[in-house]
């Protein structure tokens, strides 16, 4: 088989121990079965990395993977996925980012970069079309993401190059360090930045002048225009996300009584309005911003308020934004806000800005600070331990600990470990609110039962992007399902997981699915790749990838016992608000989910299921 389009056909294999960069052909026989992006990279991980590997050892590998639709003119074809074993979770990690880094990599001629080993000294990978070489990064080590990117652009003489980099958090192996491109787009979760830091790899910079070949240009244009039209017809992708961004969810989720507050001790935040999308749009929004080829533009450019500049001014990048920064997304405003009991929007914006520059996941950071605040208020820890007062609601504590975590300074060294390890070390593991070592995002699984099942069974630890049952439980699409009910959640969780995995494998953005379906993506994929895909082949590829991730996790030592939720979610009823009295009904939903998946009661894919998916 010869790849006709979508794929460049070439990957870069970078051996950081030897200092070599080699080009090799992509495994064409995997391209159709696993599509690309997250899919084909997980196949490489399965083939090449021992699941028992220490995530921060040279034997772990770090893969940057685009999809066949990345860099095409399909709407939102901007994504790349970082795949590795995560230091936060010990599980397979698949962390996604947009911007324009991934299209640039395709234009330079590469589908994927696979890093192995560990460099003796800090380096960065420079790619300019056929040139791919490691360069010294000693002068960049210790720098923030912004300065790193600006320096590489200036030194290279190619200011249009795209840079993906780690900050001090990645260098200091913070367990939830992120990889950040174009300063504000991040492969944020599970500590992919720490793996990069462990390899002494500071950045990747790429400039490409080629294009993505497509198998059938006319069919590509027709099918992608049809999908763009659909996106203009769905009010959410045409109006809602451009106007309010994902932060529109703050008030919505709060009204449903599902907004986790003060480390999941409450499920409504009395000050949600102050940190909402409506508040941002009225008082702070400077512009919205789109990734490459995006027709939605959900990104925010937000100003620190005039009153807040004295306390929380940011050194803006680009400079002409003055005291403005990108973000925040709903999840970040929640983790740095409601989950810490903080309603000071300027403090949230500043912490979010710092997370981008320092290279950290704001979800896990905010959630870990919230867990520490709970211990502080309970009297378990005091200022002799933390160095500063850390009550819920303190913006000063948030900002101080944001910096200290990135540098592992003082109590920041505990925050840098994530709330699971921090809680265990302090003798209170019950403050960890998450799954498989990764902190929950912004939906209380007691109020939205499907989200609890999705969190518990996510291959990369607690995550909202793997099975967004908010769609059926809050939005009511494609059909409304009662958020309090357990019945039927196994099937819908499986369906959402397989669908979102399929989208991830194409290189498109998951937000497309707020306005369109796999049925509309399918003809674009056919036209671009030339694959003669059967009607359900893309969805089945999603299921295949999901099962392969599961198999890898099982070989890493995870079991069905890891498909669980904290006791607070299973035993402690919500104390007030619309969902008062609710607990997670995971024990009812999980067996149903395993049956829907074709897995055993112990959560293992059956031989029949593996044979059906070609994994036997």
């Amino acid at each position: 088989m010869t790849l006709q389009g979508g794929f460049t056909g070439t990957i870069l294999r970078v051996d950081l121990t030897r200092g070599s960069v080699e080009k090799e052909a992509i495994r064409e026989d995997w391209a159709r079965e696993f599509v690309g992006g997250r899919g084909i990279a997980v196949r490489y991980l399965h083939e090449e990395v021992d699941p028992q590997v220490d995530p921060l050892s040279p034997d772990n590998k770090l893969i940057f993977a685009t999809g066949p639709l990345t860099g095409t003119n399909a709407s939102c074809g901007a994504r790349y996925m970082v795949i590795t074993k995560g230091p936060l979770t010990g599980a397979v990690t698949t962390s996604n980012s947009g911007g324009r880094f991934a299209p640039e990599l395709k234009f330079a001629g590469y589908d994927m970069i696979l890093f192995e080993g560990r460099s003796e000294r800090p380096v960065y990978l420079w790619i300019q079309d056929e040139i791919a070489e490691l360069r010294d990064a000693s002068h960049l080590w210790g720098k923030g993401v912004f300065e790193t990117e600006d320096t590489i652009r200036r030194e290279s003489g190619l200011p249009d190059c795209a840079v993906s980099a780690i900050g001090p958090a990645g260098e200091n192996l913070v367990r939830y360090a992120a990889i950040v491109n174009e300063k504000y787009r991040a492969a944020g979760r599970s500590g992919v930045g720490a793996v990069m830091g462990s390899k002494n790899l500071k950045a990747i910079a790429v400039r490409g002048t080629g294009a993505v070949r497509v198998a059938d240009p006319v069919a590509t244009m027709r099918s992608q225009w049809a999908m763009k039209h659909e996106l203009t017809q769905a009010p959410l992708t045409a109006e809602g996300l451009p106007a309010y961004g994902t932060l529109a969810l703050m008030n919505v989720i709060n009204e449903h009584g599902a907004l986790p507050t003060r480390n999941y001790r409450d499920s409504q935040f009395e000050n949600a309005e102050d940190i909402s999308g409506e508040e941002l749009a009225e008082t702070r929004l400077a512009a919205n911003k789109a990734c490459f080829a995006c027709t939605i533009a959900c990104g925010r450019v937000s100003r620190i308020s005039e009153e807040g500049v004295g306390r929380y001014g940011v050194s803006c990048s680009p400079r002409n934004w003055r005291h403005a920064t990108e973000g925040p997304e709903y999840e970040n405003a929640w983790s740095l806000g409601a989950d810490c009991g903080i309603s000071d929007f300027d403090a949230i914006l500043k912490s979010n800005w710092m997370c981008n520059d320092l290279g950290m996941d704001p979800i896990s950071l905010g959630a870990t600070i919230a867990a520490a605040m709970e211990l502080y208020e309970a009297g378990v820890i005091d200022e002799s331990v933390t160095g500063i007062p850390m009550p819920f609601g303190s913006g000063e504590a948030l900002l101080t600990m944001t910096e200290k975590a990135a540098y592992r300074d003082g109590f920041g060294d505990q925050i840098a470990e994530g709330s699971k390890i921090m809680g265990e070390r302090l003798g209170h593991p019950e403050v960890f609110m998450g799954v498989k070592g990764q902190e929950f995002p912004a939906y209380d699984p007691r109020a939205l039962q499907g989200m609890g099942l999705g969190y518990a069974t996510s291959n990369r630890g607690a995550c909202h992007l793997r099975a967004y049952t908010v769609a059926v439980e809050v939005v009511g699409e494609p059909e409304p399902m009662d958020p309090r009910a357990a019945e039927g959640k196994g099937a819908v969780t499986k369906a959402f997981q397989d669908t979102s995995t399929a989208v991830d494998a194409t290189g498109l953005c998951l937000f497309l699915t707020f306005g369109t379906t796999l049925e509309s993506i399918h003809p674009i994929l056919k036209a671009v790749t030339g694959f003669d895909l059967a009607d359900n082949e893309l969805l089945q590829a999603g299921e295949r990838i999901w099962n392969l991730e599961r198999l890898w996790n099982l070989r890493a030592g995870l079991t069905a016992a890891d498909d669980t939720l904290p006791k607070r979610m299973l035993k402690d009823a919500i104390r007030g608000g619309p969902a008062q009295g609710e607990v997670s009904r995971l024990p009812e939903m999980l067996p149903d989910y395993y049956r829907e998946r074709g897995w055993t009661e112990e959560g293992h894919p059956t031989a029949e299921k593996l044979a059906e998916l070609g994994l036997g």
Binding site: G240, N251, E273, E278, G515, T516
Partner: protein, 97 residues
């Protein structure tokens, strides 16, 4: 009554919250439309059709945080001090995957 996002400008002149006397959700929405300066636009935003027998597809109505899709729909009775929240969704397909 709480209004979220774009509904504030389109139904309540920018207000976040309104006090409304109503015996049911249908009654409440009818009063809301009746008091709107742009009657037709408000009706289209709130009801599926001029017969007013169904809420608009993209409108979500919560009574004390519970969607009326899981209560009695537009016939859901209201008590004094109930909180009704209106928000728009506008998703299509298979949102979020």
């Amino acid at each position: 009554m709480r209004l979220l996002a774009g509904l504030r400008d389109r139904l309540a002149g920018g207000s976040h919250a309104l006090e409304v006397d109503a015996s049911s959700v249908r009654d409440l929405l009818t009063r809301l439309v009746g008091e709107s300066p742009d009657f037709r636009a408000a009706e289209e935003l709130v009801f599926e059709s001029a017969t007013r027998d169904r809420a608009a597809r993209d409108l979500r109505i919560l009574v004390n945080g519970r969607s009326v899709q899981f209560l009695a729909g537009l016939d859901t009775n209201l008590q004094s001090n109930d909180t009704v929240t209106l928000h728009l969704t506008g998703a299509r397909g298979y949102p979020g995957g």
